[in-house]
């Protein structure tokens, strides 16, 4: 693995957002929803409402049939999205539609490699840039596979946001951080999404450790379920990521047939507002 010298300049949306958060003296809220969950129309309503509800950055899940790092909530969301006919192309369409209404909120696609592999890496990157995607988080691409997508993405000007975990020790951390851009996503527990929550002291110590190795902002996720937990993380990190809890709230708004009940989007956005309240009030 070598350091990348010919990295293209990205659109700067992620850096600008974290700079603005720093100027405001607060941490950010990163919200995760799965593209096309429970259907494209409802997902669009939630997505478009996220910035006003207080999401500072948006992670949009690229659905995959075999999400092996995800817990039951996001597995189910992925399946709902696939059953509703969501594809990589339709996911990019969602981003494009969102970009038409919001020029500033960073959108990061999060998922697994195979749908991108099937789309074709170069074509996917070109289409993602055109749609207004700012970064990628691809769970099953560790630094050992950087040549697959990470380096092409950085060359094309798309941020590649890496996950650092409790098993990433000081010796390995430089390898993980080397080609990371945008921010670092610290996975606060060894486990799958939506599982147990880490304790505050451990998260604080982990963020400090990361900060010794990088100047990039550090977002912390996995296991954050309530506004209070989001506030705890917001006190020690640059951003708190909430995924499974939002997806679970969304699933609560489905009828017995799995269709969205009226008011689902408003309810999900109401929960995001509560989370944002927690994050924004954390350092007061």
């Amino acid at each position: 693995m070598s350091a990348l010298n010919d990295k293209a300049v990205d659109n700067g949306r992620i850096a600008r957002r974290f700079a603005a958060l720093k100027a405001e003296g607060r941490a950010g809220l990163v919200t995760f929803i799965t593209a096309g969950d429970p259907d494209l129309e409802t997902c669009r309503a939630v997505l478009h409402g996220l910035p006003a509800a207080g999401a500072d950055l948006i992670e949009l899940g690229l659905p995959f049939s075999d999400p092996m790092a995800d817990g039951p909530a996001i597995q189910a969301a992925s399946l709902r999205a696939l059953h509703a006919g969501t594809t990589a192309r339709k996911t990019l369409d969602l981003v494009r539609g969102f970009r038409a209404t919001d020029a500033d909120t960073p959108v990061i696609l999060m998922g697994y490699y195979n749908p991108i592999h099937a789309y074709g890496v170069d074509r996917f990157l070109a289409d993602a840039i055109e749609a207004g995607v700012d970064g990628l988080i691809v769970v099953d691409l560790p630094p050992e596979e950087d040549e697959e997508l990470c380096i092409p993405a950085l060359k094309a000007g798309v941020n590649f946001i890496r996950l650092a975990t409790p098993t990433t020790d000081d010796k390995r951390l430089p390898t993980v951080l080397q080609n990371t851009s945008g921010f670092v996503y610290y996975v606060s527990i060894a486990g799958i999404t939506g599982a147990a929550s880490a304790d505050n002291a451990a998260v604080g110590a982990a963020v400090e450790r990361l900060k010794r190795h990088t100047d990039l902002p550090v977002a912390v996720g996995f296991g954050i379920k309530t506004p209070e937990q989001a506030a705890d993380v917001a006190r020690v990190a640059d951003a708190a990521v909430v995924g499974s809890a939002i997806v679970t709230r969304l699933a609560g708004g489905l009828d017995a047939q799995g269709k969205a009940r009226p008011g689902l989007a408003e309810d999900v956005l109401g929960f995001v507002r509560e989370l944002a309240g927690g994050v924004r009030g954390a350092r007061v």
Binding site: S65, P67, E144, G191
Partner: protein
């Protein structure tokens, strides 16, 4: 494509067989994958490790098993001289135990305290539960609910052996979903748990390691054929799901140009009926990335993994070991397929002709022999890997034949 000097040097240090293989895993697992790789490299260099494996294979598994001349089947088909490599005579009734012995000795060497595994037909689950009982280690087996329903005897065997069998309810509830769930367990219990993968697939070093542990099959065939016929076999035939029995038979012979190799995938209802009707990843799929490696996969246009179909729960996996993908692309091994019906016919033929009830997995390879042997001369030495016994399958076979047990 240029022909390599040897077909036996792979993978490279990053786990690649040509463009296949690799280490496509979440960061949480990556340090552990590197630890397994290092531990395995060190173990291979240690004669005591090799000695311990050899001892267990001899005393516990019952190796070497025979290379048996299937005289009646040979006469019936009227062509090639057919030998069965009798992996079904191993303790636990299949080749799976060869790999489990090797990996559990590695897990102990690494100081791991708990073993997890996935299983489809249940053969790997039984073999894993067996070695865990032998070495007194807690064992959790992930198995799809669909497979639990069709493989009840093996589920009970695993429980008798002291394993916990966890039903997997995600996806189509078969082998790939069991593997997803095992990976979820591993990522949660990284510190003390060893994932004992059952086939020559997954992230590096598993494909190479499982192949090495299974190569005892081909190594024995080489020696036994020399004793019986004074020469090398002319062709080798084995079934392929993930492909561990096939790579174990083939690998020692890859650099013997006179030895032809044929791998048989599960064609289910027929390849022509589309990707949901079969489980033939190489014959009917295309390259992609799943479960830690790049390999041929059954997938749709959008890269979503499809649920394959086969009468045999052990072949019902949408991927295949990466070394097979490479051997296919460079043309060293021929990949063909057998349908459910051809397999059922061969299953019954073997039972009646040789008095051996083969596993449905192995019966796929038998189906190819039925097609191929009659066209070959009588001095053509053909070896079939009889990878497992069929007792576990009698319920599904009865159902397909319309017999109520």
């Amino acid at each position: 494509m240029t022909r390599p000097n040897t077909y036996r040097s792979g993978p490279d240090e990053r786990g690649h067989f040509g463009i296949y293989g690799g280490r496509f895993v979440a960061e949480t697992l990556m340090p552990l994958i590197l630890e397994v790789e290092k531990a395995y490299r060190e173990a291979r260099a240690d004669p005591a490790f090799e000695g311990a494996i050899r001892e267990q294979l001899k005393q516990y598994v019952g190796r070497p098993n025979p290379l048996y001349y299937a005289e009646r089947l040979t006469e019936k088909l009227g062509g090639a001289k057919i030998y069965f490599k009798r992996e079904e005579l191993n303790h636990t009734g299949a080749h799976k135990i060869n790999n489990c012995i090797g990996q559990i000795l590695l897990a102990r060497r690494m100081g791991k305290k708990r073993i997890i595994a996935e299983t489809g037909a249940g053969q790997h689950g039984v073999a894993t539960a067996t070695v865990c009982a032998l070495f007194d280690m807690p064992c959790v087996i992930y198995m799809g609910e669909t497979d639990i329903a069709r493989q009840q005897p093996n589920v009970f065997r695993m429980k008798l052996l002291g394993a916990e069998v966890v039903p997997v309810t995600s996806g189509a509830r078969t082998l790939k979903d069991a593997m997803n769930e095992a990976l979820r367990d591993w990522v949660t219990n990284v510190a003390d748990t060893y994932y004992l993968i059952g086939t020559a697939a997954g992230p590096h070093p598993y494909p190479a390691m499982v192949r090495d542990f299974q190569s005892v099959i081909g190594d024995e065939v080489r020696v036994q054929m020399q004793e019986l016929e004074g020469r090398l076999p002319d062709s080798l035939v084995a079934c392929v799901g993930g492909g561990s029995n096939a790579i174990g038979l083939f690998h020692p012979f890859l650099d013997d140009p006179s030895v032809q190799m044929v791998a048989v995938e599960a064609a289910g209802h027929g390849i022509e009926k589309g990707p949901l009707a079969h489980a033939a990843s190489i014959t009917g799929g295309r390259p992609g990335v799943l479960h830690g490696n790049r390999t041929y996969l059954l997938q749709d246009e959008d890269g979503q993994i499809l649920e394959g179909h086969s009468i045999s729960a052990g072949l019902d996996y949408p991927g295949v070991g990466p070394e097979h993908s490479w051997l296919h692309d460079i043309g060293r091994v021929e990949y063909v397929s057998a349908t459910d019906q051809e397999t059922l016919d061969a299953f019954q033929l073997c039972a009646r002709t040789e008095g051996i009830i083969p596993a449905l997995e192995s019966a796929h390879a038998l189906a190819e022999i039925v097609k191929r042997a009659p066209k070959l001369p009588k001095d053509h030495l053909m070896v079939l890997c009889l990878s497992g016994r069929g007792d576990k399958d009698i319920f599904s076979v009865a159902q397909h034949l319309g017999v109520k047990l």
